[in-house]
């Protein structure tokens, strides 16, 4: 089982980050008390989720989390705004193995609590054209629809396979300077926040061997010279919106740097987070009513060597070459007069793929239609993956993602859908074939 252990110094920074987070939440709640009750806004949602796994003739019920999000927005005045949200996840399948565990409610039904976002906005800071945001925040970069190779500032949230393109907010200080149609963005991120993997499902994203051994995971040292930063300049030329970006930091997905094998049943993995630089560019426009977008990211990695120790024998291999590789997404969408919406994207390189030779091609198609005055939404999604065009017949994967959403009552959304993939073992979709699921979801917003 992959175990996200931290080194002692990382433990202290994690504790510090958590403490600062709660302090900021407390600050927002405290300052909120000085805001008039009329302006103060509580909101959030409760999302109840049931997952059914299909394997052969049997249908299992997966141990999937439910979610309660509480948000507090406090507009202090027209220059200052504070926001905090807390994410509470709870599981409803008991996890007990002994009689004594029956005495403990929290073990019966595990819970997870985290500060999702907590930030302060200062509008017109130092200059009327400059906005500042400090705190845990989501920095959504790129013009593509969820499949954004330039969106590297927030870690990936793979906790729900069905929504594998989600991201987690992270600590940052962001400045935006606005000059006419141009926006210049600068971001400083004090430390790396690693990827969030599915519970009992690290293998789905890190490879089939990841969970079979013990492991030690090392976060980058908490030093100023190991902090991360990024810049972006965005603007528009006529009908074209564009941006150019640069990111200097770490990949949030760990890479194998060492294997220590003592015996066939006793092996240990060592992982860390590779240093990367990413030069990105994107555009969005429309031609004759068709929305078009494109996004490319040139990754400039540092070389990563994996050392293997087996008794007295040692060997090493290159886990990641220091050669640039290019990921991109091209897409378009169109709404037909009858109301059918079509969205199609070609993504070269999934989030977890690194190195020019490892990048697969993904073609994603989405068809959507709203029915009965938007009470029902029918969504049909599908994907095709090709890992190697030279031998496409042995290197393809596919996925089907249909969903039906009922939203006849305000603030209530009921969804039923499925996520099923298949294909050759060399592909990502092929490796997910045992993770097929049907889901039922109720989301109540308040």
């Amino acid at each position: 089982m992959l175990n996200l252990k931290r080194r002692p110094d990382n433990r202290s920074i994690a504790w510090f980050t958590k403490a600062i987070g709660w302090l900021l939440v407390a600050l927002v709640f405290f300052t909120a008390s000085s805001v008039s009750a009329q302006k103060l806004r509580y909101s959030g949602f409760l999302q109840l989720d049931k997952r059914f796994t299909v394997s052969g003739d049997s249908v299992g019920i997966a141990d999937f989390y439910n979610r309660f999000r509480l948000e507090l927005a406090a507009p202090m005045n027209n220059r200052l705004f504070a926001f905090a949200s807390v994410d509470f996840r709870f599981y409803d399948l008991p996890r007990v193995g002994t009689l004594s565990q029956l005495e403990d409610l929290s073990r019966d039904y595990p819970t997870e609590l985290s500060i999702w976002e907590a930030y302060v906005d200062v509008y017109g800071f130092l200059s009327k054209n400059f906005d500042l945001r400090i705190g845990k925040q989501r920095l959504a970069w790129g013009t593509a629809d969820k499949l954004n190779p330039t969106d590297n500032l927030n870690p990936d949230d793979f906790s729900d396979l069905v929504n594998f393109a989600e991201k987690i907010p992270t600590w940052a200080i962001t400045g935006n300077y606005y000059l006419g149609d141009f926006t210049l963005t600068g971001v400083w991120l004090p430390s790396l926040t690693p990827v969030l993997l599915p519970r009992h499902g690290a293998d789905l994203f890190l490879g089939s061997q990841a969970s079979e051994f013990q492991d030690t995971l090392a976060l980058p040292a908490p030093r100023l010279n190991r902090s991360m930063f990024a810049f972006k300049i965005g603007g528009n030329l006529g009908k074209w919106d564009y941006s150019l970006s640069y990111f200097n930091g770490f990949d949030d997905i760990p890479i194998l740097t060492g294997v220590k094998i003592k015996s066939l049943t006793n092996a240990k993995l060592y992982l860390n987070f590779p240093k990367i630089q990413v030069v990105g560019a994107d555009f969005a426009t429309e031609l004759s009513g068709v929305g078009l977008w494109g996004e490319g990211a040139l990754f400039l990695p540092k070389k990563v060597i994996t050392r293997k120790v087996m008794g007295q024998f040692t060997s090493s291999s290159v886990a990641l070459e220091d050669k640039p590789y290019f990921k991109f997404t091209l897409g378009g969408d169109y709404t037909f007069p009858g109301g059918w919406y079509i969205n199609s994207q070609w993504m070269h390189g999934f989030f977890t793929e690194r190195g020019e030779d490892s990048l697969h091609d993904y073609f994603i198609l989405l068809l959507e239609k709203q029915l009965l005055q938007n009470r029902i939404k029918v969504s049909l999604g599908g994907g095709l993956e090709v890992a190697d065009w030279q031998e496409a017949q042995n290197n393809y994967g596919f996925g089907l993602f249909p969903e039906l959403t009922y939203q006849a009552i305000d603030n209530l959304e009921l969804s039923v859908g499925s996520f099923s993939t298949g294909g050759k073992p060399s592909t990502l979709f092929g490796s997910w074939k045992n993770a097929d699921q049907i889901y039922l979801r109720a989301k109540i917003s308040f």
Partner: protein, 247 residues
């Protein structure tokens, strides 16, 4: 000779009258547009009631910012599941949607123009209609004691989805009171009624609207409040910066 003169006079009368009517249609439409776009800018809060054929209702509250006939920023204030969703229109083909759940601004293609805006009976095109004379020409005009009734047809090359509009406006103040929207095939699709006409900050304005989709019987009733004109909104206000900014 007398008969010939009478016929000539009649023909001349018809020609002049037709020409005068066409001209007066153009003039009336220009007057309607000038009243519609008289304020330099507007800020208002709208209560939207989405009413089903069986009478069941959904309520939406939005805040709208508008400058001229082109620039518009709409922000949803309630209900909770759409709160914070924003729509920005800079030009006819530069439309943006802000989705707070993803903290992302997405450009939307203008092919969405025929779609209903957030479940209302107003399409994106209806929401963007600022100047009728830009896209439509007055084909004929009728008058009653208090109102003008204009038949509008799309100008050649106009990027609109309707085949004809029948627009009714008050003679006294040139405020639009009713619009019938017809498909290119000539079927009546929707009816917009405007009520609650008041003079606010020196401008005539209809504060209540109701759009009905004929086929489904579904209606959207809009009630505007906190209307402010000429607040001096700058063109730069209509930007992604403000679209993302929380109220």
């Amino acid at each position: 000779m007398k008969t010939f003169k009478r016929h000539l006079f009649l023909l001349l009368f018809i020609f002049l009258a037709g020409n005068a009517l066409a001209q007066s249609g153009r003039v009336i439409l220009a007057r309607i547009d000038s009243v519609l776009n008289a304020p330099k800018d507007m800020v208002a809060t709208e209560n939207m009631m989405l009413i089903d054929k069986d009478g069941s209702q959904k309520v939406r509250k939005i805040k709208i910012y508008q400058k001229g006939s082109e620039k518009r920023l709409v922000r949803f204030l309630s209900p909770a599941d759409v709160r914070g969703v924003g729509f920005l229109r800079l030009t006819k083909d530069r439309l943006y949607l802000y989705l707070p759940a993803f903290r992302r601004v997405r450009r939307i293609a203008s092919s969405v123009k025929n779609e209903n805006f957030m479940g209302t009976d107003f399409t994106y095109e209806d929401m963007s209609q600022g100047e009728y004379g830009k896209d439509y020409a007055a084909k004929s005009v009728r008058a009653t004691a208090k109102q003008y009734i204009l038949k509008l047809v799309p100008r050649p090359g106009a990027d609109v989805s309707y085949g004809k509009l029948v627009l009714t406006a008050d003679k006294s103040n040139n405020v639009v009171r009713k619009v019938e929207y017809y498909s290119p095939a000539g079927t009546l699709q929707k009816i917009l009624k405007i009520d609650g006409v008041k003079k606010i900050d020196g401008y005539w304005f209809g504060t209540r609207m109701e759009m009905q989709t004929v086929k489904s019987g579904h209606r959207t009733r809009l009630e505007m409040s906190k209307i402010q004109f000429d607040r001096g909104l700058k063109a730069g206000f209509f930007s992604e910066r403000n679209l993302k900014r929380a109220e």
